[in-house]
């Protein structure tokens, strides 16, 4: 269901002799449940409140005086003061939470809500997560258990373990299977409790060692009872507070074979409900395939996407461009005909100039000719008589 690395087959080990696989059992579906530290934390913090005992302050504490305020005008604070005289107590302030010997602010009551209700499904979710986490070696190691020498995790052991009666046998088994290092850690780090719990019957503090989960108690409980750090539990009643102590997932658990197999029945799977928890199916993860990048890059997704809109980088930047009337290259880029046009203009101008020159030359020549001719005429005129001239003058058509 998840992309966790699944261990579909788990080896069952004997309790003595040689550490080798005597059998193989399938991994129950619980171990593939989603590991949700947030759910576990929530459920754990609330569940841990459930074994609290009520405590409160005495109802009469600080109230056992008949103190009255002196009122104003006496150059003292208006707090109630103890009546009477003849003792140091008289005139002292009373009742207030700020007063010495006064009642505390909001005296604690026994009817404080000590216990918390948690939704059953949430509780079950948390337990499934916690169980799944016990099979994840990095989580178990990060919890602090010494699991380097174990043959396998989850550690499943033959049912003979359930019939052990002597502590010596139990210790021998733990050493045999490689779990004793964790017990040694517990023994080594046994300390006196810091704080006042030490004289309230909670003197010593121990680490948590391996937890042995069995299906039937045929003596196993007593065998492991005295080993420091080791806890036993029936597979039918697995406690979250033990599976994830301090809401930290990944307890080191040693399963007996029948207990391990029963997990499939107790917690069910996604297809089959639990046989013991009515209507309960294993929780589903929010995402089955968490490799989002891979999903996005897959062919199935990419082929259906529309084309990326082309960024018209052509017009992205501010375009600087010279004045086409000053820079010829810019002008030609915009108007490829421009150079030809200038050339044609030039030719036309030259042609016109030439024509004009011809016309001007021609007319100038004509004028010069006319001048020259008229000069000749004048000379001829001057040679004639006065009389003739007179007649000529009169005959002019003016």
């Amino acid at each position: 269901m998840t992309t966790q690395q699944l261990r579909p087959i788990v080896s069952v080990f004997p309790i003595k002799g040689k550490v080798k696989t005597i059998k193989q059992v399938p991994l129950p579906s619980v171990f593939s449940a989603p590991i949700r530290p947030d759910v576990v934390r929530f459920v754990h913090t609330n569940m841990a409140k459930n074994n609290r005992q009520a405590h409160a302050v005495s109802t009469t504490a600080g109230e056992q005086t008949s103190a009255t305020s002196w009122g104003t005008g006496r150059a003292v604070a208006r707090i109630p003061r103890v009546k009477g005289s003849g003792t140091g107590r008289s005139g002292q302030a009373a009742f207030g939470n700020m007063c010495r010997g006064g009642r505390m602010y909001a005296p604690k009551k026994v009817w404080r809500k000590w216990h918390r209700k948690i939704n059953t499904n949430q509780k079950r979710y948390a337990v499934c997560s916690a169980i799944a986490a016990t099979a994840v070696t990095p989580l178990v190691m990060s919890r602090g258990h010494r699991v380097n020498k174990l043959p396998e995790l989850p550690l499943v052991v033959s049912d003979q373990l359930q019939s052990l009666t002597k502590t010596r046998q139990a210790v021998k088994f733990l050493k045999f299977i490689g779990a004793y290092r964790d017990v040694e850690k517990v023994i080594r780090t046994k300390k006196t409790r810091v704080g006042q719990g030490k004289y309230r019957n909670r003197r010593h503090v121990l680490r948590k060692g391996p937890m042995v989960v069995y299906a039937r108690n045929l003596g196993i409980k007593k065998a492991f009872r005295n080993i420091p750090g080791v806890e036993t539990a029936s597979v039918y009643t697995l406690n979250l507070l033990k599976l994830a102590p301090g809401s930290q997932m990944g307890r080191f658990i040693i399963w007996t074979e029948s207990a391990f197999k029963l997990l499939e029945d107790i917690y069910g799977s996604w297809e089959k409900p639990s046989k013991f928890k009515s209507g309960f199916y294993l929780p589903r993860p929010v995402m089955v395939n968490t490799d989002v990048e891979r999903i996005i890059k897959s062919d199935q997704v990419q082929t259906v996407l529309r084309n990326r809109r082309p960024r018209s980088r052509k017009y992205g930047k501010k375009i600087q461009r010279a004045d086409p009337y000053e820079d010829m290259s810019v002008m030609v880029k915009l108007n490829p005909y421009y150079k030809t046009k200038l050339q044609k203009q030039k030719e036309l101008d030259e042609k016109n100039k030439k024509e004009r020159k011809e016309i001007v030359d021609k007319s100038r020549k004509e004028y010069e000719d006319w001048l020259y001719f008229s000069e000749e005429e004048e000379e001829e005129e001057e040679e004639g008589s006065d009389e003739d001239r007179e007649i000529e003058v009169l005959s002019d058509e003016n």
Partner: protein, 239 residues
């Protein structure tokens, strides 16, 4: 140790629209297109030069003909005007303000081309005190578009730096180059609207030599209102 490329990246590159082959192909296509555009531009520019020349010659001919006959040649009324806003934005009454907005004359010394018809003439009447306008000739239109012509591209004002820009936007109106644009504007063709709206409103400089008085109309030795062909000299001073 050979460098192994992850499969997802290989696939991505293959699918990519930025891969080398795709880019190369695109570039080739573009180059081909540019060549086409430039050759078209050359031919059309040639054609238009002839056209303008013919127009001028025809006008002269008709005038001469009329003179010979002893009658008058009435020139066709101008189709194109160039308007320049010569007053600022402070204290403009709502109606002229709206009309100036509609004509894209939102700031002082901005200029637009406008097609002259009864409706636009009436609009001009309202905004006369705020603008000066007239009938531009080819060289004015050319100078404006070449030197101060900016296109409206992707809601941005971009200077027209190549015919490709014009082709991209106005190809469907058969306007592919600068000369096409000039021609469309000057002759107020079928697609004048699109050619004109392609152009951002011209941002001109204040005139060299200044104005006499904007408060008076051009007719009264001021500056505002219709100044017919004298718009050309003004634009030269403002371009």
């Amino acid at each position: 140790m050979s460098k192994q490329v992850p499969e997802t990246i290989k696939k991505q590159v293959k699918r990519s629209f930025n891969s080398k082959e795709v880019k190369k192909e695109k570039n080739e296509k573009r180059m081909k297109l540019l060549k086409e555009i430039q050759s078209k531009a050359f031919k059309r520019a040639e054609k238009y030069e002839k056209e303008y020349l013919e127009q001028d010659q025809k006008l002269v001919e008709l005038k001469q003909k009329a003179l010979k006959e002893g009658s008058f040649y009435r020139e066709p009324e101008p189709k194109l005007a160039f308007i320049i806003r010569i007053r600022g934005i402070v204290g403009v009454p709502p109606k002229p303000r709206k009309i100036l907005q509609l004509l894209r004359l939102r700031r002082i010394y901005s200029g637009v081309f406008i097609r002259l018809n009864k409706s636009s003439l009436r609009m001009l009447h309202f905004i006369d005190p705020y603008v000066t306008w007239g009938y531009p000739d080819v060289e004015t239109v050319r100078a404006l578009i070449y030197k101060r012509g900016h296109a409206r591209v992707n809601h941005q004002r971009k200077i027209i730096d190549s015919n490709e820009m014009i082709y991209d936007k106005l190809q469907k109106y058969d306007i592919v180059c600068m000369e096409d644009l000039v021609h469309e504007i000057y002759t107020v063709g079928k697609n004048f609207k699109h050619a004109n709206s392609f152009l951002w409103a011209f941002k001109l400089k204040p005139p060299v030599g200044g104005f006499s008085t904007v408060k008076k109309s051009f007719v009264n030795k001021g500056e505002h209102g219709n100044r017919e062909q004298y718009i050309n000299t003004l634009v030269k001073k403002m371009i």
